[in-house]
Symmetry: D2
Subunit: 245 residues, 4 copies
């Protein structure tokens, strides 16, 4: 279809990424990027079986060749499509460690996804977003999923807060450069524990109302995606009602 | 009606307040507070003529007796209603002045609305919001309209930035105290010139895309009002795509 | 003496204000402003007995007439003096209270000192600081003593954080307006409990190393006062080594 | 000498690093780390000729082996010395570039110094600082030289602001973890152009008073180094009096 519209989501597992995929599939063909097929296949299948369109691609977001190959596949498979939104939702495995115990591998792993991966993703999708035909009413958007570690640094959390601070700086810089060109860039600060299937063991002692609902997060991205050019939100936070912050 | 649901908006003129009134009137009976009837009457009339329900009350938000009288009128007129949301959208007339030219009256005027008024309003509506029956799916919410002056202070802008910084501190403190009690408190940073009827003389040289659309702002408040207890946003900014920030 | 140099300190009791008075008395004639003579008299006496020069004036810093009278006394008593530095160290009595228990008197008391008082003080001393002869090597400076409540708002702390946020906004605005005119404006964030005589009952359980040393604070003001025009610090924080922040 | 006290400075050229070396050489033996001998040799020579003690070591601060070798040389040459302060003053070559023109090499170069280098340096010196005998009156300190790019992100500045945001997060995390252990960690925000020999071509049009004096910066580090355990400053900014911020 010449008028096919895409939403590209990097970092799709069973949590926020899956909720984002479902939400944006209500209007767009969703492209799901994750390292392992097992991460995106369940939600890809679910969307395609429910009348939506989803297409997963195994991608290492911190690897230039892998990202390049993924986007070549997208452009080949959807040659006339416009990219309406792109969501960077990938994240490394963050561990709490005393500063003296952090290895360079720990830090590089975090930076590899949150900084290098985010930069690669932004540089690859921005030309596509800039090309999004102005006839579409909704401005093209680029989201970065961040966290409280992006604005607050705590002891034993350098492996988390250094890459997240960097990601936020990248997002702000991109928002200021591409906002005036019509691309809506958003940084989302998720503050607290998200209620995901894989997070259940850690959430056991956490009252339900302090666990953030991934469907609610996805709805927020959607609402922000619909904002017009005369009212861009750059940054939002989201937390459970009982969260201490 | 015993199940009547109210949205109380303080600071309703021809700009954001009117847009908020229209947006929330799609579901709620809207109570419009402004000092002069001429401020709220046009939108009150418009809503009532279009099938919604609006009720305006002349209120000086910085005056305890006036605020008390307004809420007595609300409770008398809508005895069994629940207050679903309350929006503090009032603002003093801010002037740019060199620091040495600021009079105590200038500063008191700003503080009178943005701090004293906001405190009065919050203290009056919070008990009503806490009483909002849990049967309603949407958590009760309390919004404060702020601006970039809440987070950034510039030369010759003390009359603006001092009250707005104070308002933001009040909002954060309220959010942390009442979030765990189920009331969703939000601070909105409007960054830039809003495209209002009364603002036209100042906006002449400003490209349309740098003027913030008040309908878009109102939609954002609405979207945030709909957030569930497991995903409260505390703070958002909104600006035109061309805004320098 | 025609070349007499003054340091004017508003808010002098037994804590930081007294330490500041002692420190600045090493070079300047210190003018000590406090509401009650009993607040400034001990340190005034101590300085004068130890070879320094101190002059106390009973002043209600939130009252325009009182501030006017104090400065008339200063200019009468020290007609040819230059004002080298001015320190706003006054503070209201802050109480922790649930938001719904805060009275307008509570809030006005905080605003009266931290906003109105700070504005009055700044407007009165800035013309004197601007007049400070350029022959003196050290640029004139204006300090505002703030606290963590200036940048962080907590539940039940609105009486503290609203005025302190406002004070900080005033300080930033002043720094940006008067820095280019050669006046060095500084905002100091004191984070934690200061080890003062009157604070002992509250400090009992606090390890010594978490109590901030007022002499250390005073030394910091002094160091910053000595900064040249090509290296102004606007903001510093200070906390005990064990402070959680 | 068994009681020799060291100040280790990473990133010593003709600017701030040289000023820091001179200032700390007034009391300590200064160890100067820089990639190229030509960077540290002039100031090393100057200090040694003027009665101070300086020792330069060619070190690539982003390279673990190189850092390891440098500290082995320090410990061999000064076996009984205590490390009193360590200053991370290194910085990559930052270029302004549109986001789409940034290469991964650009970003890695910035991260390599400001994040990886800072982490390596911190991890290597912190055990030495923790070992600093408590008999010395001055608490051991660890400084990180940052910039406005650490707290503000601008368009076309991602190569600068991403690593600097990360560095600041690392510094905050370290300050909170090691402050309670007695190590004073400081992050310095240099806002503006420093008046260095190598910066002259860029500074030509900049009035003298907007160029930051490196001697003033060095004095500030020194003042902060002298702070006692009951009054640690974590963050300061410094800017010329005419700087817009």
């Amino acid at each position: 279809m010449s008028s096919q519209q895409l939403a590209i989501i990097a970092g799709v597992g069973s949590g926020t990424g899956a909720s984002l995929a479902r939400r944006f599939a209500s209007k767009y063909t969703v492209i799901l990027l994750a390292r392992k097929p097992s991460s995106y296949q369940p939600v890809e299948k679910e969307i395609n079986e429910n009348g939506g369109k989803a297409h997963g691609i195994s991608t290492d977001i911190s690897n230039p060749e892998s990202v390049k190959a993924a986007f070549e596949e997208i452009l080949t498979k959807f040659p006339n499509a416009s990219v309406q939104t792109a969501i960077f939702n990938a994240s490394g495995m963050f561990v709490r460690k005393p500063l003296l115990d952090i290895t360079m591998e720990d830090m590089d792993a975090g930076l590899g996804v949150s900084v290098r991966g985010a930069l690669l993703f932004a540089q690859t999708v921005l030309p596509l977003l800039l090309n999004c035909p102005p006839s579409h009413q909704i401005p093209p958007s680029l989201f970065f999923t961040g966290s409280t570690a992006a604005i607050k640094a705590n002891p034993t959390s350098a492996v988390m807060c250094v890459p997240r601070h960097g990601l936020r700086a990248l997002a702000i810089s991109a928002a200021k450069e591409f906002g005036p060109k019509g691309v809506h860039v958003v940084h989302v600060i998720v503050d607290g524990a998200i209620d995901t299937p894989w997070g259940q063991p850690f959430l056991r002692d956490k009252p339900l109302e302090e666990r953030i609902d991934p469907e609610g997060i996805a709805q927020m991205y959607w609402d922000l995606h619909l904002q017009g050019r005369r009212g861009f939100t750059f940054e939002v936070d989201v937390r459970g009602m009982g969260e201490r912050w």
